[in-house]
Amino acid sequence: MKNTTPEGSVLVRLEQLCKSFDGEQILKSVDLTIRDKEFVTLLGPSGCGKTTILRCIAGFENPDSGTVFFEGKPMNAVPPHLRPVNTVFQRYALFPHLNVFDNVAFGLRIRKENERAIREKVLKMLAMVDLKGYERRPVSKLSGGQQQRVAIARALVNMPRLLLLDEPLGALDLKLRKDMQLELRNLHKQAGTAFLYVTHDQEEALTMSDRIVVMKSGTIQQVGAPQDIYNEPANAFVADFIGEANIFDATMPRDKEVVFSGAAFPCVDQKPSDLVDVVVRPEDVEIVSPFDGTVAGEVEASLFKGVHYEMTVRVGEDQWIIHSTRTCSVGEVVGLRVTPENIHVMRKMFPTPENEIEVTVGEDNQVSFDGRSFTLPAAPAGAKVTLALSPDDVELCAEDEGVFTGVLDSVVWKSNHYEMILVSQHRRWLIRSQADEQAGAVVGIRFAPEKLRVLTAGGEG
């Protein structure tokens, strides 16, 4: 993976940052480096811990363990008002009793700069965010976009080394958001300050960042330049979260060859393991005649999206999503081809192909794990064995009907099924399902006990 690291010394370093709220682990040992003048985006679904990282750097939260370094100096014990960072808050948090000028001047006045210098800086800053002439307006009389600019001006006027932005465009409508994205990018260039930007909007992250940090459930999934994240996602979650993607379960018989959707495709990757995930971006699929395609299938739907048509092609069991400037009629059989460079091979997110549970067999073929007992068809009493449970045999159900319950940690559409990882109290479960559940949902799982297969028998217990 190529690394386009921008110039600049290390400004902030997070080392093994952990944080829990009410027993729930929000950050699980996060390491991250932010360089001077860099635009870094923390991207992830809500509840992934991105805002908590921001708040730990600002000093509003204290990590349970781990350290926030600022230019090599640990900052954990430094109160927020003495940290060399400023924050643009999610809901702006402007002071309603002050007008635009006084809001922006607030930080400078606290630092007791002289009033003339303050006036000069504030006016310059207001001009920079396009709010010249608004000095005397009460902030409550401003539109959302204008309040947003005041919030940015109020933080940036203090010339922080690092500006923290917590979903600053979340409350704006689409058009305004696009405009502000460009303006923020320009402000970043002009100000020469490092930006740490939190968002759950992948497009925003791709547009604005030097580097993107993709997060899920309190862990960093991938750090890289927008192009790298998009073209070479580290796993199926990142591929699914950033942009549209066809993701397949695949096997790799040898290097540079990957089998999925019923055909062998040449690719450019080395073989990491027998079973892999493959991602193909919809715009990278070529439509050719049925005889020229690596695979062939029937066009199921074609939607006009402005710049391109979005087509669904059924290849055997699999649905391929294809973006193309020319359309095909529904029902037409087409061939599909992908050039080797556009097939990206990823490691599986789950360490094993099936759920594997280590148990010791008790009397009468009884095994128990995670507080439940099951009867196996046949097993040597007292033996330590590994049980296997196919992800197809795990059934999702309501929370109170499940043998176990847990939170869906990730849900990825794999062209003909959802691949889910559920975190129960004691372990992680791999599930293949057609059920359309959202990540973060609390669900129950159940399975027929006879589906538990004895995989390997260890030594006598």
Binding site: G59, N86, A93, F95, I110, P138
Partner: protein
């Protein structure tokens, strides 16, 4: 424009219970016993009756001291309350309101039990050796006791409006303040206090107005009369003079309106909207 019809019952209510009594008081204030027009009642208050004038100024002084004391006590309480978990906030709110469920005179009389010679306070102070046996606390039947009674009685009316405005200040404004370099004290001074001014004003009004015209408290705990008691006396009994009582009421009302108007001048920016 909205229809004005629904206002009619309210208007009738106001006319019967506010406007007509007010007119009666004004008429009474400018007439004598025979019903003829006179300015004598007002002259007595301002020029002819030094006792009345003294009592008026004394009431003003005690009301001011009590109001300031209420503010000083209530503000930290309101701040601490607003920082608690919602369940604790509800409990504190309830505890503050609890004494209000008891009759006003009863509450004052219970202070009498505390302060009177050989009362609860004396027993306690003697118990810890701060008073020698036979000695009594110096508070009973003093102005201090009256101030104590007024503060005790009206403190909730200062706490609650301040608490309401402080509780509405979002957490993010405190954080924004700290983020911009404010110490805790500066956050309080530059953000919390300015935003709580409307609550402070309504608290000041709600304590000062009734304190100024309070009655029973001063008679029971201080043994002297304040304006409330004086008006009360003029209106009842054989030695009463409802016309003078009405004039005193009018003057008192004038001063109260004046003080409210003064306080509200500080609250001109009431278009402040908290998100």
């Amino acid at each position: 424009m909205k229809s004005k019809k629904p206002l009619i019952p309210y208007a009738i209510w106001m006319a019967i219970f506010v406007v007509i009594p007010l007119i009666m008081i004004i008429v009474n204030a400018f007439t004598d016993k025979s019903g003829a027009f006179t300015l004598d009642n007002l002259e007595r208050i301002f020029f002819k009756d030094p006792t009345l004038r003294y009592n008026f100024l004394n009431s003003l002084k005690i009301a001011l001291i009590s109001t300031v004391l209420c503010l000083v006590l209530a503000y930290p309480i309101a701040l601490i309350m607003a920082r608690q978990k919602p369940s604790v906030q509800r409990l504190l709110h309830f505890l503050i309101m609890l004494p209000m469920w008891m009759n006003f005179v009863l509450r004052i009389c219970s202070w009498l039990l505390v302060l009177q010679p050989d009362g609860i306070l004396d027993v306690m102070l003697r118990g810890v050796g701060l008073l020698s046996p036979g000695q009594s606390n110096p508070l009973y039947m003093t102005e201090t006791a009256v101030v104590l009674g007024i503060v005790y009685n009206y403190l909730p009316f200062m706490i609650l409006p301040i608490y309401t405005t402080v509780a509405k200040i979002p957490r993010s404004l405190y954080e924004a303040g700290e983020d911009l370099g404010c110490s805790r004290w500066n956050v309080l001074k530059k953000i919390v206090f300015p935003l709580s001014v409307p609550g402070v004003i309504s608290g000041l009004t709600m304590v000062f107005v009734p304190a100024m015209s309070s009655f029973v408290i001063s008679m029971k705990l201080g043994g002297f009369a304040l304006m409330g008691d004086i008006i009360d006396n003029y209106y009842k009994g054989t030695g009463g003079d409802p016309h003078l009582g009405a004039a005193v009421s009018i003057v008192l009302m004038f001063f109260i309106i004046l003080s409210i108007a003064l306080m509200n001048r500080f609250d001109k920016d009431d278009d402040v909207v908290l998100a």
